[in-house]
């Protein structure tokens, strides 16, 4: 049985925020402008992004509501309505509430009845894991369709007040993601029946390397810790926050491993015969930063499996890095704005730096 992506949708909250508008909105930590901002923005190449918080740090729309808006956008362009949806598979790195699962909250928000539910939890690759769960469920003949939604509302972590609560000095690893991540949601509709011009999912594969690498991106460990204690281990949440255990961090030193592992996975898929490099027509890669795009390019080139520059598509620069939602938002915009033809092969790649999980997918454009 084949599985098709018959529709896609996205939601980006509020207006596009330029680089100059970021800090006034997120706030000046201890009243001082950031000294790292310019350098990090230069390296990631992002020009505009969206936030679900305003300058007064009110949340303008919840994570579950963003996800619901993206799902509705997706269904608007589909042949089926909410009442026919049989499965919901949802991903986020951090829901509005710690419990219950994000999928439950999204289901209620969307008003879907009697569905089969799946929530996946992780960082950037969470959406691909949610997608794979839906894909295999359909492939096994368990359900005829599934709505897959990924949404992120990380800006709440970037409020100046959060950093101030964690002490006086702001370290590079804690500030790094403030200039990288932003909010948004994307959705895909999967069906076992192709409709119109759509994308057949040929395969989805991921390779996780958490056993061989330390944590690279995290929320929950205090500043300068050996990871023996997490935010849950403090007497009160106030103490955890004061220790910096609620800040989102990237261990920048480890980040370059993502390039090698991304290329490693690609080479594996080639040797398994899943990817034929000369047959790839479009590449959608969720690289978190323009800086890494060059590195991935070079290494693929060196391995002799380079992909011509014109085949790469990304909307990172205008929509921002929205974590696990990025690849869906990218695929949606690709589908709506780019030119592709029946028979084209699309390869999607999502390298996650959390603790190094790399996900890949191949799609073929078909016409029903």
């Amino acid at each position: 049985m084949s599985v098709y992506i018959n529709s896609t949708g996205h939601f980006l909250p509020g207006p596009a925020i330029s680089n100059d508008e970021m800090e006034p909105l997120l706030g000046y930590v201890h009243g001082k402008p950031s000294r790292l901002k310019r350098r990090i923005l230069q390296s990631n190449g992002i020009q505009t992004r969206h936030y679900a918080i305003d300058a007064n740090h009110n949340t303008t729309i919840s994570n579950a509501s963003m996800a619901a808006r993206a799902a509705e956008h997706c269904l608007t362009g589909s042949f089926i309505g909410k009442r026919q949806i049989k499965m919901l598979s949802a991903a986020t790195s951090q829901g509005d509430v710690v419990l219950p699962g994000f999928g439950s909250m999204l289901q209620a928000e969307l008003g879907l009845s009697d569905i089969e539910l799946h929530s996946s939890h992780g960082i950037c690759s969470g959406s691909m894991m949610a997608l794979k769960a839906a894909f295999t469920n359909l492939k096994a003949g368990e359900q005829p369709n599934a709505l897959v939604v990924a949404s992120e509302l990380t800006s709440r972590l970037f409020k100046a007040s959060r950093y101030e609560a964690a002490g006086t000095e702001l370290d590079f690893n804690a500030e790094f993601l403030r200039w990288m991540l932003s909010d948004g949601a994307g959705a895909l509709l999967l069906e076992t029946q192709a409709r119109g011009r759509c994308f057949r999912i040929d395969w989805i594969r991921s390779f996780s390397h958490a056993d061989a690498y330390p944590v690279c991106m995290s929320v929950g460990y205090p500043t300068d810790s050996n990871h023996s204690q997490s935010w849950q281990d403090y007497a009160t949440y106030a103490q955890a926050e004061a220790a910096g255990a609620l800040l989102i961090r990237q261990d920048v030193r480890l980040l370059e491993n993502i390039v090698k592992l991304g290329v490693d996975g690609y080479l594996r898929l080639i040797s398994e015969g899943r990817v034929q490099p000369d047959k790839v027509d479009h590449v959608l890669c969720h690289y978190s930063s323009h800086y890494f795009r060059g590195k991935i390019f070079d290494m693929l080139q060196r391995a002799g499996v380079g992909i011509a520059e014109h085949k790469w598509y990304s909307n990172l620069y205008s929509r921002g890095n929205t974590g696990c939602a990025s690849i869906f938002i990218m695929l949606d915009e690709f589908r709506r704005t780019q030119s592709y033809k029946t028979g084209d092969t699309i390869v999607c790649m999502v390298p996650e730096s959390g603790r190094f999980n790399n996900a890949y997918m191949q799609l073929t454009v078909v016409e029903a």
Partner: protein, 228 residues
């Protein structure tokens, strides 16, 4: 990174070697001593223990590579020249390592009289055996791993060791030195891959030797903390 134009066979070999390397890096990531280094829980004594265990392999390294050069016949005289040059450059590196050991607080007689690490025994035994075969083309796979490790030491480990143990670079010279001629060495290696990998059989023997070398190298590092 410069572009390296390789033959199709050489390119396939390079892809396979890259995968062996990535796998090797993951194997290294599972070695407890290196996990502690990653976390910054690594003392000067750990570093001395590492050098103590490393010395023998550096000494033996120049021996197998010299033998490898001499095992190439006249059809490969160009390869022999390259490898002799390489062996000549590195055959006294262990002296630098010994100086680092002393600078880090170790005693020269300790490192000179230390028993061989059993991983080194296995690695050296394997490499000498391969190097003694006629035209040991497959040893390019071993060079790939060892050259890559030299880069990793220079680019990652040296700084991590200094940071964790409060050093100023004065006792990590051996590790840092390996980063100095990286590009040149890698360029030579690419040329060797192109020159030596010309059939599927050669490709698989090169990859196999790279994998064995990687595994035994890891064993050597696992054994650093293994006392009797």
């Amino acid at each position: 990174m410069t572009e390296h134009v390789l033959s199709p066979q050489g390119q396939q070999c390079l892809q396979a070697l890259m995968r062996v390397w990535f796998e090797f890096e993951r194997q290294l990531g599972r070695v407890p001593l290196l996990q502690r280094l990653e976390r910054g829980q690594f003392s000067k004594a750990d570093y001395c223990q590492l050098l103590l265990n490393w010395r023998q392999q550096v000494i033996e390294g120049s021996r197998w590579i010299s033998r490898c050069a001499s095992s190439f016949d006249r059809d490969y005289s160009d390869v022999r020249s390259t490898i002799i040059g390489h062996a000549r450059e590195e055959h006294r590196d262990y002296e630098m390592l010994e100086r680092d050991y002393v600078a880090a607080g170790g005693s020269l007689s300790d490192i000179q009289n230390a028993a061989r690490n059993i991983g080194t025994e296995a690695l050296h035994g394997f490499l000498m055996y391969r190097a003694s075969q006629p035209n040991p083309v497959d040893l390019i796979g071993a060079m790939w791993i060892i050259e890559g490790l030299g880069q990793k030491m220079a680019n990652d480990w040296a700084a991590q060791i200094d940071k964790a143990s409060g050093g100023d670079g004065s006792y990590t010279r051996f590790m840092r030195y390996h980063g100095a001629n990286d590009d040149d060495h890698m360029q030579k290696l690419y040329q060797l891959i192109d020159r030596l990998c010309q059939s599927p059989a050669q490709l698989s023997s090169i990859v196999r030797t790279a994998r064995v070398t990687a595994r035994l190298y890891c064993l050597q590092l696992e054994e650093v903390e293994h006392d009797y």
